[in-house]
Symmetry: D2
Subunit: 345 residues, 4 copies
Amino acid sequence: MRIGVLCSGGDSPGMNAAIRGAVLRGVEVNGFEMIGFMDGWRGFFEGDFIELDRLAVRGISPLGGVILGTSRVPPFPDGNATPAALQAVITRMAELGIDGFLLIGGNGTQTVAELLTRAGVPAIGLPKTIDNDLGGTDYTFGFDTAVSIAAEAIDRLRTTGESHRRCMVLEVMGRDAGWISLHAGMAGGAQVMLIPEFPESIEQISEWVLSVRDRGRSSLVVVAEGFKLEGVAHATVRDGLDGFGRPRLGGVADVLAPLIEQHTGIETRATVLGHVQRGGLPTAFDRVLATRTGIAAADAARDGQWGTMAGLTGDQITMVPLAEAVGQLKTVPAARYDEVRLNFG
Amino acid sequence: MRIGVLCSGGDSPGMNAAIRGAVLRGVEVNGFEMIGFMDGWRGFFEGDFIELDRLAVRGISPLGGVILGTSRVPPFPDGNATPAALQAVITRMAELGIDGFLLIGGNGTQTVAELLTRAGVPAIGLPKTIDNDLGGTDYTFGFDTAVSIAAEAIDRLRTTGESHRRCMVLEVMGRDAGWISLHAGMAGGAQVMLIPEFPESIEQISEWVLSVRDRGRSSLVVVAEGFKLEGVAHATVRDGLDGFGRPRLGGVADVLAPLIEQHTGIETRATVLGHVQRGGLPTAFDRVLATRTGIAAADAARDGQWGTMAGLTGDQITMVPLAEAVGQLKTVPAARYDEVRLNFG
Amino acid sequence: MRIGVLCSGGDSPGMNAAIRGAVLRGVEVNGFEMIGFMDGWRGFFEGDFIELDRLAVRGISPLGGVILGTSRVPPFPDGNATPAALQAVITRMAELGIDGFLLIGGNGTQTVAELLTRAGVPAIGLPKTIDNDLGGTDYTFGFDTAVSIAAEAIDRLRTTGESHRRCMVLEVMGRDAGWISLHAGMAGGAQVMLIPEFPESIEQISEWVLSVRDRGRSSLVVVAEGFKLEGVAHATVRDGLDGFGRPRLGGVADVLAPLIEQHTGIETRATVLGHVQRGGLPTAFDRVLATRTGIAAADAARDGQWGTMAGLTGDQITMVPLAEAVGQLKTVPAARYDEVRLNFG
Amino acid sequence: MRIGVLCSGGDSPGMNAAIRGAVLRGVEVNGFEMIGFMDGWRGFFEGDFIELDRLAVRGISPLGGVILGTSRVPPFPDGNATPAALQAVITRMAELGIDGFLLIGGNGTQTVAELLTRAGVPAIGLPKTIDNDLGGTDYTFGFDTAVSIAAEAIDRLRTTGESHRRCMVLEVMGRDAGWISLHAGMAGGAQVMLIPEFPESIEQISEWVLSVRDRGRSSLVVVAEGFKLEGVAHATVRDGLDGFGRPRLGGVADVLAPLIEQHTGIETRATVLGHVQRGGLPTAFDRVLATRTGIAAADAARDGQWGTMAGLTGDQITMVPLAEAVGQLKTVPAARYDEVRLNFG
């Protein structure tokens, strides 16, 4: 059996460990041939790939990024999975002698995997995203590393905040789901955690910050990039344009900090953590999860379990139907958000 | 309601976060009075305790160790839960005005919690142990930190091993269960992982080490302190006496390394990681898990769910009957051990 | 002898270790009484201070921030060291029974220390600043921690940059001196390091970035906040106002990244590291340097060496005249900047 | 000019950064050809080397260990620099077309470099050793990383020690010089620091431990592997044989801990940190120092400054005569040891 591996979407710590797990199991134990396409679907269509064997994956488990590269190039022109577009994938597979795919990616990638499967293309999903917003798995690999980095930033900002009696606002990733903000905030003991799922008003936020001050402390506010301030029209997407068509500088934290200062009279500073969250040394948790995901995916390919994704269920990796995983974004439920309000005022 | 909190057994990163979670929820939301006994059961019997309120738990979440101290002092003289001994606990509770216990500990402590519950003493368990050998929960807090520290040690030892073409043996904790060895080894890409559940012979280990050498690499062997070398009679418990009644120095790694060197001719060095694994800054994962455990335990007390333990089930905290949790040690199943053999020879 | 300690200016990792070193030596060995003023000169004038003894400094060495707080409140109204303002300090000292000061701070604070000394106020300086721009010492404490944090950010950004074939721009602190940019960039293997001392044009920067691309790599550009792009008029000071009087969002990296993308056609992303650089756990280097600085300052007070600053000279702490230390900012000399150009195109 | 690079002695974090610095400067700027011998002198005599160019050193700066390998194979048979042995080196150089050496190593290696120089072999030294016991330089690269790792271990051990009211003994490296013990102990706030240069009696150590207990704290004792307990005859060298010719298990900490427990009645635990101290990710400080050392060495070769070593003097790298550097071990002076006694009883 000849298996093609590719990564799509943003990078996420643990991708190399997943590839290593899949290759050591697939090639050494299951007797596959395996190849890895460079830069996602670009490599597939352009025939740009490397042989994946034991030597190719030596020592890559602790490395951030991904040896294959990744890109957001879609497998279908204009993103439309027309019959012609699907047939083009099948034809290309035949040319390359590929029997099936291991697709490492987040929601977009797994949605593609599900489309391919329904069109008869054998595919298995390996869920990765630092945002943790994918169904069918307790956690996605990359998330724990992102949370760790954000929690360490909170630990650092807290001390400078306390020393200067300032309110510190930290913006973390999370366009649609607040998992990083929630977990990093809880780990770091942030007093206010703001997430896309639950808009709050500047008045409410300021009340929390003042209440923390009244207890003799300095506030640490952690805010997901996709958080929406109630009653204020503003673009929340970073790296886009502002209302005047100019390149927007900074993030939601840069908007929020002066508002908090204005409403509370407390000196307030913003930090936008940015891409630092998605690179570098993965945590041990992510390396283990990713390695086990790779092993399970290689075994699922051997057993013909196409159309599934290797999800974490408790302390087991189980193969779940792709359709289940990609139905909808996994967002923070009200119960979890309420859980952290205990830290508030 | 007045709740007593105590910690028993070895310390485990996350204990402070668990106390903070329980107190912020118990006192601020549920309206409890809470006190914390110093050094486990010693503090209970001697009336040595502190008031637990918001101020007492301020900023403790990232701190290693535990503000209350912990000890292995048992609640029953000689460890026998005689009717008289149980009555003594009940009498002391009445004197202190305690309505129930939150008991933070590992297998031994949760077994005590179950005994107390059966004797009519209201108790709720918070599972902590770096060994992860407790049932009723996917993971115990402290485990992720221990694995992280051990994985970082592997990352470090690997580079010195490769530079000198040496075999490096790292001993990690785990008397009865090999979870730390398994996860740290997988995270660090160790070639050989030895655990208490599966004895191996020196011949088999040497064969693996030689096979790694034949592939042009240097071996990293991670061994749990409770690993038993097949066919060799030797005490595996550290800090005890050797066969001659003398204080034993070093650990199983110190025994294993010269044997590997003798059988393979490869220069081999041992490192015993020891207590470093159980102290210091908890990982974000452990802080979140511990905080949520504390919150859930405080709510369970409010709801009268005595006789339960706050376990992690997937991404939820659920209250499981203590009897289920303490039935037997959770050890590494054969399927998980086989999973990592893929790295071997 | 009764000594007052105060911190002034931005916080810098190691301040707690310096206080601990000075107190353990001053109180326990030299027999001083010591007090610490809260929030810098504010605490001095308002009589807000704490007793500094062994218990007060227990375990503070690894803590970020500073237990006394710090502020930018000047000791002289409007910053003018008029005879009246100086007399006010002397009078207040007498009221508080203070025989001399240990002043922990950067360039501004040490300049004040020198002024006070010339006016007859006994003062000794302890140099701290993450910017390392102070004369009279090889390094200031806080600098090594800031460099470590920035270097780790580079390590992380590099992997995500390589995976996506992007140019990553990291902005680090340094308004007037490029030490953090230079050292972190060298440690992290950045290809381009931009510092306030040496303006470069966007054309030159783009040429470097393209040359890196031609070698098959992705560029990592590290830029100090005070870097000036040749031929472009723009405010470089963060947190101020832009040319239109509006609060400025983002930093120089947010300005630079789109320009690089425009000139090279390479997707480019900016990260502004911000306050994360100045808080949290100090490195071992900074803790040792700060502790030794504190010890030396306490001994200098005992010996009456007022008007000096405890500087690092090789592996020794030596007392240097304050006048020498504060003469001018210590900036990156051309030889050091040339040294790193070796990494360029 | 054709330059041979080799590493000798134990590995030390920063060696890769030094090679990268020397190669980027030597090949790209100075126009050298450079080759690197594998496993030290073995590679030289066996003709086992690799070409060192920009590609060969790409991205190696943050990696622990050393890409060339290192060994303790001496350049002279039996370690005797006989005229015949020196002539063999010169002959071999001619065969390989080598004009000079860059020798990366500690005291032993730099002594060899000095011998070679006197015999007319052009050699330049790059000082590396985690022990910091080399003259002619303020610090050797590798030392800062070792201290950081040991200080982090102290931070971790302290919390578990305090939680259990135990005395924790940490053994760190340092056969002949106590620098790691001294700096890590000061950084971590150890109460007792024991170093080879200053023997102490078990009675004195116990008095310190008891005095710490009387202040309500738990002791952290850091001991260098070469520390000698006054009045007790015992081998201090690890990995050797004990007095009965049997392989010795454990280190001096394993000897010391039971003695402390016996003399004080305080439960005491030993940890031997071992090889973990010398591997893995170098600190930013060591990467910068090593890179600058490599650059300076490449320029010294260009300028014909043979017989020198690239030492750190304040914030400059200066070329010092090898004879000065290797005259005698740099040990901890009494003044520095006294400085830390302030933490004692």
